[in-house]
Amino acid sequence: MAGNVWVIAEQWRGQLSEITYEVLALGKELATALGCDLQAVLLGHNVKPLAASLGKADSVLCLDHSALATPVAETFAQALMPIIRARSPQAILMPLTNVSLGVASLLAEELGIGCVNFCRDVRAVDGSLQTRSVLYGGKMEAIVKPAQRPAILGILPGVRPPDEGRTETVPPVEDVTVDVQESSSIRWKRYIEPEIGDVDISKQEVLVSVGRGLQSPDNVAVAAELAEALGGAVCGSRPVIDQGWLPLSRQVGKSGVVVKPKLYLAAGISGAPEHVEGMKNSELIIAINTDEQAPIFHVAQYGIAADVMDLLPALTEAVRSRKEVKSHA
């Protein structure tokens, strides 16, 4: 009998990442299609309570060990090796984020096989798996049939809506003995928090986000005015933070904050995948960019092909006068 589908649950600093639920939803689909069980694998230290949220899976394998307290890819791979050999899953779905980057590759090498990265979708076709993997910054997709068992698949964020992976059901949890040692070569020291900005952008309902299309740091103030008029805050894509136009706490994207505001206004942002990862679940996305071909227009609901600096002041004006009318009405 073919083995189960495993989802490696990603937890970080005591919380399950959003992507875990996305991958669980996908895993459930695949397990059902392949006629096997879905098991969630939870690694960490003192993480057992988190297992209760993983009810989408039929059962949870909990690997709790002090050596797994902080993310070191080698240690995680080592911890997984014996149970994979013992239990022979047919597929292992690994989230691809800054937390677990590298684990899939290492694990695959330990097992002597390859992995399939950058999956934005996985389907079961005639009893075998097929991935759609993103290549070349999103310009191409490859359809890949993993040839080896287990199929180790690196899953990109956004593969399924996270709510599809959540459930009230509490799954059975199996404690698995972990035979692993802290790495002798890599020693964890500490986390360095970003400077606490005055604003936590992940809690804002409205975000006006700026990218390189803004052309000059002086123009950030224009975006800030609009944000203020709308009752929100300014944030930005990585290049803008790298250039020092905004502090690190305002960075949206793969290495920054993942946001889901009611309104995300992307001004002068091209829509690179690393940025889109951080905002694509926003309720309403409006994009402004002079380049009509910019990828951001595939993510946004409304788009304007115009110069940001032409539009933002006009929009601020319009919003302000509307609010004035309302307050007098």
Binding site: S216, Q243, D310
Partner: protein, 654 residues
Amino acid sequence: MPDPAAFNYFGVPGYSLLWLLTLISFLVFGRQVTRHVRVLAHARAENRWDQFGKRIGLVVTNVLGQRRLFDEPLIGTAHFVIFWAFIFYASTFFWSLFRGLVPAMAIPYPDEVAWITTSVQVIGVLAIVALCVAAVRRYIFTPVSLERSWDAAIILVLIALVLLSSLAGAGFRGLAATGGGSSRSVGGFLGGLFAYLGVSPAHAPTLYLAAWWIHMITVLGFLAYLPYSKHLHLLASPFSVFFASLQPSKMPPASEGASRLEEFTWRELFSGLACAECGRCDRACPSFDCGDPLSPKQLIHHVKELVLTPDSVSSNGKTFLGDVVRPEDIWACTTCASCMDRCPVFNEHIPLVMEMRRKLVSEGQVPPGLPEVLNNLARYGNSFGQSERKRAVWTQGLGFKPRDARKETVQWLWYLGEYACYHPGLQGITRSLARTLYAAKVDYGIVYESERNSGNDVRRVGEEGLFELLRQKNTATLQQAHFDGLFTTDPHVYNTFKNEYPELNHGRHPIRHYTELLATLFDHGELKASHKLPYRVTYHDPCYLGRYNGVYDAPRRVLQAIGVELAEMPRSRRQSFCCGGGGGRIWMEEAGQVHSRPSESRVREAASLDGVRYLVVTCPKDYVMFTDALKTTGLEGKLLVKDIAELVEEAVAA
């Protein structure tokens, strides 16, 4: 009157005193001049002996004629007078000196010759008036960047002393001659004045001697002091004009850049010696005007100090380029050439900037934003980082396909330049011109994806290696294409193709700016305005079209042909004020604390003209810079930027 040289002063004959003083003066003078020459001899060679006749002509117009000084008419007139007074006085001085040193010679002193004395006196008075004008300007109505230095004060005093002593001498001569003076000459008048003041005619000869010696000693002292002071420019400027740059592109000869004295050419260093620190370059500079760290005058001053005291920098453990001249000063230059255009002694600010930029680039020290642009230019042939294959995307929506000059023979090859092709705000203008020329049945073609950046601005940021690469590629493309003449919409392309691509056969392939082509078409009736446009407009002369290449009239002829009313801005033609985008600045971030950008200053100037609706431009960078400036100054409702092609299309449309 006694002969000052033959007179015995306590047993010593005058001429031996004179010989002594003259020798001292000449030695002191010669020592410093020799030092300067030696320093220059250690610098890089540069040939400035070509086109002898043309150079003499420059000297006549600009040294004898003082032409550039008349840009500021009042001081120009005053300086003209002072200059010629100086020449005259110098001549009479040497005559006096010669006669004084060789008393046995049977020639009169100059002040014994009637027409000379009259001229000396008249010129002297005029000069004193001119000096007063100059002093008032310098000390009361001080122009920007003109310093009230001790040096200048000393020189003014010395000159005044020279003139006054000469006039006084004439006065004492008059007093002695007539006893009471006469009104027939200045000397006579002064003689009368002295008499009135109670000076006895008996003392006149002694006072005359005193005046003579004061005069000679002052001048000898001035001569000795000259090479140590800012008035070195008196000696150096005729040479700096003679050795001026005769080529329009204002680039230094091939080099890997300069940061130490011996790496600059002797002419680049000479600018330091010829500089009179008048500040005209600062007053003309758009970067200086808006608060950028660049001061062209300071730059030349640093070079002067480097030449005068070569060891002062290195002995302090400092570097010339880095500590004395800061890189941000160098990067702030837009290469608009206003400084060089105004400099009365033809100093060469831009080559200095270019040499230092080359050095900074060779060390990889380029300002932020530039590495990406340069890498894009090297890899994709355009600064936008877009694929070469997208260069002709602008042709979509034309309704016809422009001819391909790589495959068929055309009369005119239209070299567009990257902004016209890639910039979303400009593609409409490019199409506009394409349609106009097509409708007028002008035989033109383009080279589609084979176009690369012409390299003008690449050169100006100091990346000579990349320029070479681009030039080779473009030359090959053009040599393989089939065309008679070439025109371009970008003055930067125009400048470099015309002046820096020697392998283009310029006899066979004339290079034109599109306004020159349009003007010709209107002249020959191939383009006709179907109706005159009822607009009042103003026109901005692009730096690389106007100051660099002297094309001022063609665009104005086009504007005339389409019937618009042209109101000139105060700073037009040669005085046109740069948009701030040249010299690679459009690729860089702003430096320092700018209180306004040059483009903003310029659009305000345009908006200040009554009833002017359009600011007409003929350069894509101007269009981009001014459009942005209208937004940042809030003048969008008042003024619009239009490329001349847009107005032409409107005028000829049926």
